[in-house]
Amino acid sequence: MSTIHAGQAPVEVLLQPLGIDQARGRQGMLLLIATEASLFVVLFFAYFFLSNGDWRWLQQEPPKITYALVMLAVLLSSSAVLRWGEKQVEAGRFAQGRSAMGLTVLLGLGFLVLSAFEYREHLKHLAPQTNSYGSIFYTITSFHVLHVIGGLLMLSYVLLLPRIGRTDRPPHRAYSDAASYWHFVDIVWIFIVGILYVLPNLR
């Protein structure tokens, strides 16, 4: 076997000093979101499979849409607030960033309260045990509620951290990573409202 010629000069770029890597956590978070997203895709698949491929369940009262839309408004505004907070943190205004995150947590708690009301309303005529529609409906929505709780825990944890700006000590970019997860949770709710609430109400 002949030797492969590759040249002897070392890679010159290395002579420049390198900063501390901040990107691995980011990539990990994006992959977590990817696997969680496919979780919900699978759940929606199960929803359509059980409805025999129809976007409307025949012989099934479509769910009332009011609460869901209010909850959507709450979540979307929480995402907007948090996005604003991310910009503040990037600009070095950490106090504003923290207040934005605090407000997001409150809005998220508001979402949980609203979903408790919506469940109480809904449970009057549909239980998870009623039929497959009830089962898949409550499974999807409660999976989402669990993700909201997870997201809220992440946000609150970031609030507790001594530093939320750029830091050489891990966790890096905790603020924007937790924020990305929260935006993801909100986007899932858009799909839930669309698929579970709006589509069945269209005639």
Partner: protein, 625 residues
């Protein structure tokens, strides 16, 4: 600084003290990789013993030494052990140990998450085997179709152990997959552009993406099964608008990508060692890399071929039949590349190469009978017969176990620092290969003769007796072959010749480290100029000014995705108990779910919060003098 002082300092930074504390808190990928390998081998032995018990029962007709229920539990535990706790973890073990060394990094991207994947892998396995103590193991096969698995027909804890242990393992596997992806994306040595990446990195990357996108389907399936079994939900029972087929769709949407998860890294290892023993670079590197990735992608479009017999439209069956045949093209590309490499090279027939050739032969047999099974009329004829058992064992044993043994003979000298015995190794190969074919080839014929799978006994005179006996004899011979290799490992640990850095004169970066590698692996982070770092005339660790020692703490280089240009210094965490604590919290959670005790579930879930909080809290760095 002189090199001895540098090395001493690096050891101080990277070493885990050999204490109990160190043992439970280490995050060293080499230590974790070794534990993965040993644990997965233990599962292989346990699963193998279960197989032998089954073969004893089936050796002759009308045997009664296992009850039907015991037989069902044993074949299910055999399948789950082999598929979930051996076949995938053993490959994770190799990838864990090798990937950072192959790409010139000092550890994985998330070392603590890496420790967590090991702890949760082993405890989920123990969780599953706790079912044996209750004498209520899962009994419905590894794909657990409802309605049989509903609480009405499968009362007791068996199927709960199944669902919960798999949910537990899913967490472990997903975290591991994310870790592999980020490691390969971010920590490659400067200059190791994706066009120069070792093929094992390609296959591990593809396997990890498959896991990230397919495992949620298993999660949903298992959660739905538990909700239906214990909380009165209706997903799979027709009476309440459910569908038993929903389970099959979900399970196989996960299940078929899983076949590639336990197959692709094995092909990656073969693609590493065949060129080394053929003394030339692999033929068609870009095609092998591409077909690896495409296997992963198309692997998501073939799941329905497990369900041809349930009754579907012609259109969808034709689509999935065609897709199933398409995927064999990519495997064929790899097979031809390996054959061409051997053909054009000057092959050295080491034990490792024997196993690689044995793998090629069994992969071709298993692959061809797979293509035959993708033809729908044939599938209808052989569904749920021993034909399928034969096919899946040719693919899984042939394409997972043989490559794994090839890899052991190839890489154990790196891991332990000692060579294995070649004569004993070759004997072990021949015994295994003969035993394997004797055990599984007759199953093709039994399948054609109509013998259904998963029966605990059968009447005489159906033409199955002789074949079954042959198969049993073969299984025991295979077991003896495996035993010979285990003896070989023990022998090599005691008296194997010292391996030195690069006993095979191989081309990839791990062979430039000591055998076994020092805790920091590379004194100077290597830079790479070609696809075969150790075969070119470029010195990867050439660094006269000690610019790439990075001894200010646990550091390694982070590089860009495509060209691997150095962009930052990756800071690595110190040893930590957090991964173990998180695993304990999850054990509480799943035990509560098993006992249907919501309070314990809640305690487990709440315990996750402080464990994670402790894990992620900014640490003070240890200062090394």
């Amino acid at each position: 600084m002189d090199s001895a002082a540098v090395e001493e300092r690096l050891v101080k930074i990277w070493e885990t003290p050999p204490t109990a504390q160190g043992w439970f808190s280490t995050v060293d990928h080499k230590e974790i990789g070794k534990r993965y390998l040993v644990t997965a081998m233990v599962f292989l032995i346990v699963g193998g013993l279960e197989a032998l018990i089954m073969r004893l029962q089936l050796a002759r007709s009308n045997q009664g030494f296992l009850t039907p229920e015991a037989y069902n539990q044993i074949f299910t535990m055999h399948a789950m052990t082999m598929i979930f706790w051996y076949a995938s973890p053993i490959l994770s073990g190799f990838s864990n140990y090798l990937i950072p060394l192959l790409i010139g990094a000092r550890d994985m991207a998330f070392p603590r998450a890496n420790a967590f994947t090991y702890w949760s892998f082993v405890t989920s396995g123990l969780f599953l085997y706790a079912s044996v103590a209750f004498r209520q193991s899962p009994h419905a096969g590894w794909f657990a179709y409802p309605p049989y698995t509903d609480s009405l027909y499968s009362p007791g804890l068996g199927m709960d152990f199944y669902a919960l242990a798999l949910l537990f393992l899913t967490i472990s596997t997903t975290v591991g997959a994310v870790n592999f992806i980020v490691t390969i994306f971010r920590l490659r040595a400067p200059g190791m552009a994706i066009s120069r990446m070792p093929l094992l990195a390609y296959s591990t990357l593809t396997m990890s993406f498959s896991a990230v996108f397919s495992l949620p389907a298993l999660t949903v399936a298992c959660v739905c099964l538990e909700l239906q079994r214990h909380w009165g939900f209706h997903f799979f029972d027709v009476a309440y608008g459910g569908s038993a087929l929903l389970w099959q769709q979900l399970f196989w949407f996960f299940g078929h990508p899983w076949v590639y998860i336990v197959f692709l890294p094995a092909t990656g290892m073969i693609s590493m060692l065949i060129p080394v023993f053929s003394r030339r670079p692999i033929v068609g590197y870009p095609y092998v890399a591409l077909s690896t990735v495409l296997t992963g992608v198309v692997g998501f479009g073939v799941w329905v071929h497990h369900m041809f017999a349930v009754g579907m439209s012609h259109m969808s069956m034709s689509f999935f039949s065609a897709a199933s045949m398409t995927i064999s093209v990519f495997s064929a590309v790899q097979v031809f590349a390996w054959i061409a490499t051997i053909w054009k090279g000057r092959p050295v027939l080491t034990t490792s190469m024997y196993f690689a050739l044995g793998f090629l032969a069994s992969l071709v047999i298993g692959g061809l009978d797979g293509i035959v099974t993708a033809v729908i009329p044939i599938d209808w004829q052989v569904t749920d017969t021993y034909w399928v058992v034969s096919h899946l064992h040719y693919v899984l044993v042939g394409a997972n176990m043989f490559p794994v043994f090839a890899a052991f003979y190839y890489w154990l000298p790196k891991i332990t620092g000692r060579m294995m015995n070649e004569a004993l190794g070759k004997a072990s190969f021949w015994v295994m290969f003969i035993g394997f074919n004797l055990a599984f080839f007759p199953m093709h014929l039994m399948g054609i003769a109509g013998m259904p799978r998963r029966i605990y006994t059968y009447p005489p005179g159906l033409g199955w007796d002789g074949l079954s006996m042959a198969s049993t004899v073969g299984a025991f011979i295979l077991g003896v072959g495996i035993l010979l290799s285990i003896i070989n490992v023990i022998w090599s640990l005691q008296q194997g010749a010292l391996a030195g850095k690069n006993p095979w004169n191989a081309d990839s970066l791990e062979w430039s480290t000591d055998s076994p590698p020092a805790p920091y692996a590379f004194v100077h982070i290597p830079t790479v100029r070609s696809r075969h770092p150790l075969w070119d005339d470029y010195d990867e660790e050439f660094d006269p000014g000690d610019q790439r020692v990075y001894d200010q703490g646990r550091l390694t280089i982070a590089s860009s995705l495509l060209d691997a240009e150095p962009v930052a210094l990756g800071k690595m965490p110190e040893d930590s108990f957090a991964p173990l604590l998180l695993t304990i919290a999850l054990v509480i959670f799943f035990s509560g779910a098993l006992a249907e005790n919501l309070w314990i579930v809640l305690i487990g879930a709440l315990a996750v919060i402080p464990a994670m909080g402790y894990w992620l809290w900014p640490q003070h760095e240890r200062v090394v003098a």
